[in-house]
Every structure is written in C-alpha cells, then in structure tokens.
Point group: C2
Chain length 468, copies 2
C-alpha cells in the first residue's frame, strides 16, 4: 500500500469515444448468427442424446444441464466450448455416480467426432463434435452451492445466477473478456492465474457495464472486495475478493494471482486514460530465431542456467504448480548462494524447462559467511571452532555483533550448485520429483539454442521482448 494519490479517474473520456470503440470491436468478437445457430444445434443434439441414452439405461433420475458461456451468450466468437453437466440426485454415492456416469457419458461420447477421458478433481469426458469442444461433466444435484459434494456441483448455480442477471449486458461481458485476453489476464487455469469467465460476468453485473468495470478497476488496491449478495462470512487474504453470490464462504477470485490483478488494474488505468480499439488486439509473438536470441542475450550480457527433464504426463493444473515451485526454489537456492538472479521462468512442452537468468554463472572464490551474534555464545563458539585456522578460511572477524568468516566458496558456478542441491534441497512436487529423479540435464545458453519446439521460442520471444 502506498499513499500516492490515485488520479486516474479524474478525467474520464467522452462517452462517444467508448461507443465508437464498442462499435468497432464488438462485430469482431460477437459470434455471428451462423455461429450461434450451429452451437445451438450441436448443444440441442447432445442434450437429446444424453436424455435418450439415459432412457436406454433406465436412468430416470438424471438431469442434463447446459452451463457455461455457451448457455448465457457470453462466449467470444471463435471460442467453441460447450459445457454439458449431467446431474445425479444428492443421495447417490460418489462411487455409484462415477460408475453410472461413466457408462452414460461413454455412450454419449460415441456420437462425437473424437473423445478423451479427462479429470481434474473428478473424472469427465471431453469430446469434439462439429468443430466444438464439449465437456461432459457428471455432478450432484445439491440443494445449494454452499452444500456441494464435489467442486463442479457449484457450476449449475453459477450459471443460473448469471442467466437471470446478464441479459442486456452480454456485449459488456464480451468486451471485458476480450480486453482481459489481450492484456494476458484472462483464464483462471493455474498456469495463468487470471480471471475466470464467471468472475468477468460478476464484475459486469456488479458495476453495470464494461466501461464501469474498468473505471472502477483503475483504482482497485490489494484486498478490493465485492460482495454482491452482502453475505460474506469469511475473511480472505487475496488481492481481489469477490464473494460467490451462491456461496458466502467462497472467493470467486481466489485463484487470481497478484500479478494478473495488477496487470488488469494497470491496463484499466491506461484504457481509461487513452481508450482505443488497440486494447482489444492480443499481441502475438512469433518464434524467436536462435540468431536473434543470441543477439539479444549478447545485449543483455546475462547468463542462463537451467534444468530440463521429460515432462510428466499430467494435466497443466497439476503440473504447473509443481513447476512454479521448482522455479522459485531454484531461484532461492541461487540467491542464497550469492548468485544475482535477474529472472526465473518455467516452460512445459515435451520437456519441462526451468530457466534462471543470472548476472553471472560464476562467482569469485571469496565467500563472506555471517555467523551467529557473539551473545549466542555456544553457536559463536562452534562457528569459531569451525573456521579458526581452517584451510578454507581467509579471515575470521567480528563485524557489528556477528562473527564473520571469509572463506573459499564451495559453489563457484551455478551449475555445480544446482547439480548438488536439486534433489536434496529444491522444492519438488510429486510428479516433478519422479521426473527429475529419472534424469535431468543442467543447461545453459548452448543447450537452449538447440531447443527445436516453436512453442518454446514464441514463449521466449515474449519473455525477452514484452512491453505492456
């Protein structure tokens, strides 16, 4: 928190400017009639298939529900996602529900063009059909969203809440989603840590319009709280707190990272100052040619150290938290050992690649080790005993209240440090530990230059050239 004056709301551009931008942007992001018709047809067909299949299996207690942006007309043109939930009575056991839903949904999946067995917290089936990406998700039909048996049971309540309030504001949701996409803050998957679709819809409902969301977001600060139903029951330590209208205990924005929160605030400030259709165009990064990469690194003058290993075959939401922990952990290990860390990055393709950009991968032999304060007499004595007249000791002195030894540094290169510490001290989640234990490579500039994956080079281009 700071005491700086917020003045961005001082001069809000003319309403006509906003109207003009809306008129310019909306036709590009609003689904066409043909798109809508096709989506409705696929959705209807699948709902009918679900009903017929249930009937075939004699399952008369299930209810298929269409949820998600497709159901509330808040989907961006080109986004072809359909979410269909199949709800079971609350008193069905989880085991029975999983067995029954699997039989049902696998049969339904046959009507798709392809299918895939997926699971996050619980299993679901993903199919493609007529160019649409369809999730078929079993859930429980609970009485209220605060009484759920599985995380997905909330979704029908969310859908219901939005459908009742969003009519007339769908365009505002589309504008907000596109604005967030272009700013890199849309998408609540762990890898991204941005805003979810439901969250954008709640913001539009609360503030009234796209422009009002931005006008207000421009002066948000850490801890900004929105409680539409005025029913909050728990304190939340998150950058943004949006109490779920269907569950007083839950913060809809719990997965929003501080960085994404701040990026949105900054983008909102800039938009309110100089609104333009440019804010709705997402910058694409081409794969960075290796020669250009080498050239940039020469200009930066920094050095890379990293670790590469085979990517565990896990969903992104499982894998990325583990990669981020390893990324942070390697950064900390290097920092604690006097390496000057400029950036850390994590990439997952066929290989997982953790990269740390350093001022230098080499340090001089001299290391300054600050010991205990003299009044911790036992510790001071053992520090003294360890370094006094030791081969590795240059000097042993007292500075302020601390014993200080100047000694020969054990890890003079970042590579030797990581090789020694990665399995012993780095924070390794279960799947990443298994993968690293199976084998890893310590990499530097030369090894990075040999990476072929174009996705890696697009990603690297963004890391090295992005300007908000």
């Amino acid at each position: 928190m700071t005491s700086h004056k917020i003045s961005n709301a001082d001069q809000i551009p003319d309403a006509a400017v906003f109207s003009q931008i809306r008129a310019q942007v909306l036709p590009k992001i609003r689904p066409s009639d043909a798109e809508r018709t096709k989506l409705e047809a696929v959705k209807a067909e699948l709902l009918e298939t679900i009903c017929k299949t249930a009937e075939m299996f004699g399952e008369d207690d299930i209810v298929p529900i269409s949820v998600g942006s497709a159901e509330r007309s808040t989907w961006l043109s080109g986004n072809h996602d359909i979410d269909l939930f199949v709800s079971y009575p609350e008193d069905v056991s989880r085991q029975d529900m999983e067995t029954r839903s699997r039989r049902l949904l696998m049969e339904v999946a046959k009507s798709g063009d392809s299918w895939e067995d997926r699971h996050s917290e619980h299993p679901y089936i993903h199919i493609t059909k007529g160019g649409f990406e369809v999730d078929l998700v079993p859930c429980f039909r609970v009485k209220s969203a605060s009484d759920i048996k599985s995380a997905v049971d909330r979704t029908p309540f969310h859908c219901c809440f939005i459908k009742e309030r969003i009519p007339g504001k769908q365009d505002d949701v589309l504008l907000l989603k596109q604005f967030m996409k272009s700013s890199g803050v849309y998408g609540s998957e762990v890898r991204n840590g941005g805003f979810s679709g439901y969250l954008t819809e709640l913001l539009v409902i609360w503030y009234g319009s796209f422009e009002d969301v931005l006008k207000n977001a421009a002066s948000w600060r850490f801890g900004q709280t929105i409680d539409i139903m005025g029913h909050q029951t728990l304190a939340h330590e998150d950058p943004l707190v949006v109490i779920d209208p269907t569950d007083p205990k839950r913060n809809v924005a719990a997965a929003l990272s501080l960085t994404r929160f701040a990026q949105f605030i900054n983008a909102a400030q800039r938009y309110m100052k100089n609104p333009s259709a440019e804010f709705f165009v997402k910058k694409e990064y081409a794969p960075l040619p290796v020669a250009e990469f080498k050239n940039i690194m020469k200009k930066r003058g920094t050095e890379w150290v990293g670790v590469a290993f085979d990517a565990p075959q896990k969903a992104d939401d499982t894998l990325y938290p583990q990669l981020f922990r390893l990324e942070n952990s390697l950064g900390e290990i290097l920092t604690v050992n006097d390496f000057a860390v400029m950036n850390t990055h994590a990439f997952a393709g066929d290989k997982c690649i953790i990269l740390v950009e350093l001022m230098s991968r080499m340090l001089p032999p001299l290391q300054r080790r600050v010991g205990p304060p003299v009044w911790a007499a036992d510790n001071a004595q053992s520090f003294y005993g360890k370094y006094k007249d030791a081969d590795e000791t240059f000097t042993l002195k007292i500075k302020n209240e601390y014993l200080v030894a100047e000694i020969v540094r054990k890890y003079q290169t970042a590579e030797s440090l990581i090789a020694d510490k990665i399995l012993k001290e780095a924070a390794l989640g279960r799947h990443v530990r298994a993968a690293v234990s199976d084998g890893y490579q310590i990499i530097g500039l030369d090894e990075i230059c040999q990476i072929q994956d174009p996705a890696f080079w697009k990603w690297m281009n963004e890391k090295l050239t992005k300007q908000i």
Copy 2:
C-alpha cells in the same frame, strides 16, 4: 537479540590458572620502579614550573592538577603519557581563560624538549619532556561534573573518583587494559571506537577484579547497563551503558562501537573457556609484500575499486568520522547500483584511501528497475511513459504489484559509477569534501600495488589475514 542459551559461564577455570597467568603477565606490563620514579620526577618538575610561571604572571587563581593514568598508577609499562590540567575559576570567561592559559602554557612549554599546539574541543599544548608525552590542558574549576563549561572539565572529577576507589586494584586495570589492547578494543579515539582508560577502571571497580570483569562480560548483550552510583537519569541506545559516577546524564561508553563491544565479549568468552597468557600478546602485522598481496587477491578472486586523495591536515578524531562516512556512503552507492560489496575500508596516511572490495567491478548491461506499484497510478503512469518503447528498454512488465523495466544499465563499471556520483551523492564531511574537490584518483588493483607507505601494507595485511 536471539534466544540462544548462554552457557559460557557454566565452567569457570580454576583460580590457580588465573593466578598463574597474572604472575606471568603482570611483570611485563607493570611499570618498573625506575619508570615510576622517572615519571614522578617529570610530573613534579612540570607542576612546579606551572606554579612558578603562574606566579611570574601574577595568576594566583589557577590550580594545576595531575590527572590520567599516570596519576592513579594504572598506566602500562612503556606508555609515557602525562596529563596536566590547569584549572581556572568558573567565572572566568572562556575568552579570558583561553588568552591567559595560552600565555601560561606556552611559557611552560619552553621547558619541554619540543611542543605542539593542538586542539580538539578546545585548544591545549602538547610537549615532550624526558621521553614523556605531556598534554597541558586548561579547564574550568566547576562545582560538579554535571555542570561543566567544557568537555575536559569532567576529567578532574573522573580522576578523583578513580583515585579514591582503585587502590589495590591497579594490577587488575593493567591486565584489563593489556587484554583489551591485544583484542584490538582498547582506545576510545573515533578511529578505533574502543574502551577508554576511565571505562576500564570503572569496570574493575564495579566487578572487583580483572577476572570478574571478563566473567561478566562473557554474557553481556546489547544494552548492558552499569550504574555504579544508581543515579541514571537518561535512556541511552548504546551497546554498553556505563553511567558516569560523576554525571548522571552521561554514558561513559557512548563512543564504544558495536563491533568493539562484541569483540570484547567474544574475547572474554574465549578467555574464560581457555585462559592463557597468549591473550595478552598483541599480534603485530608486518607490511604485506606486494607479491603476496597479489597472490592473496588472486585466491580471493575479488576486485578493488577505491578513491585516493590528499589527506586533510586534521586531527584523527576530526578526519576519521568523515572518512568512515565516505566509506559507508561509497559502499551504499555501489550496493544500490547492484555491485556486490564484500568489504569496505578506510585508511589515512599522506593520502586518504577508501577501498571497496567487490565480487566484480563490472556488471552486465541488463538492469532490472522495479517501479511503483500499479495503484500509485500517477507514478505508475510516469514510469510507464519513461520506459515504454524507450531505446534503453528491453522489457516493460508487471510483476506482483510493481511495474518492472529491464533496461540498459547506465553504470556497467564501478569506476564509472563512482566518478559520476562521488561529488554529487556521496556523504562528504567538510574537510573530506574540500580534499576530494581539490582532486582525487579512482584506483584499482594496479594503483594499490604502487602504494609505498609501510603503514598501509601493515594495515592491509591485517585486513586480509586477521583471525580473531
């Protein structure tokens, strides 16, 4: 402060061990009878000269007073200091006192072998006579030490307090002074920041003996307070607080640095654990040969940057505070600009030399500049405006709540940084500023190797090899 257990007092060596050490050390540090007789003779002769000279000038209101360790038999053999004060009545004006004392003391000085006009807070005359260093100091004869007209007026009160209480404990004072000298913590001049003679005497009076001072000092912590007269009236934020028995407002240990305080505690702990006569032998450092210096620097792998300029002709107590400020200031300027500072040093000979030891005198071009948090909207906007699409900008991003620019570093060498900042931003006291403004040289390893002053190379030897 820490919660570590202090256990050094658990097992105190046998009294016989201490006696043996005393018997071994005292003959070396106690002045011989011949030394004493000579000192008394010189002292008596000078006192007589003062009285006769005063009579000659018709000054019948002055009183000469012998103060200092020479007066209370707490001087170490070989230390040939005599302090003679000439006191004037309190109602004499400062101006008159200075004029009269100058006439008087200049006349007295003629009986010396050489003389020098000196001043700290106020002027005094320093003479040598018969191998003794004599300070002739004018002061006011005030009613109490808490009512002084100049800082030196306290000294007669101190002398009086000690003389009454020290008989029988002089050997303990000699042992404590010698122990402190060997540990490098004796001497309260600003350059050293250690214990004064008066302070050591008070410690012996308070704790009773040399060994009891050390036994207790071994478990001192920051803020240790000793108030012999139980008359403290002010709070002091110093490592050691010893309330002046002659002035309740004053901390006798106010000039003691945290480092010297801690060094004494540590030495006391080690002595109480393994007492030996070795603790009373001061390690002397020979001048470090340049070839050996180069060899050590190669092993350390670090680099030097420094500043050299002609030493202002000022007393150490005036010069050193200014040198230390510049030393700290250069260290901070380098640190803030990403240079990894290992050590800073200040030396004064014919030249003043400030040295900073760095991991590297060069940094890569990439600099990471962390800007304001996004919610400081005006500042964020101006940071954005400054770096967006600037020639020097690599990237401009948001990380957590902050705008972060990766830019081309302005100061890629420590030399260029210091050259640009020393006169503009470094903390320069009056005399050091004048000297640096007259001209300075930025130095590195090669220039250091050309320094001829043996005192510098003794000092450097200690910096690079000292082990407590």
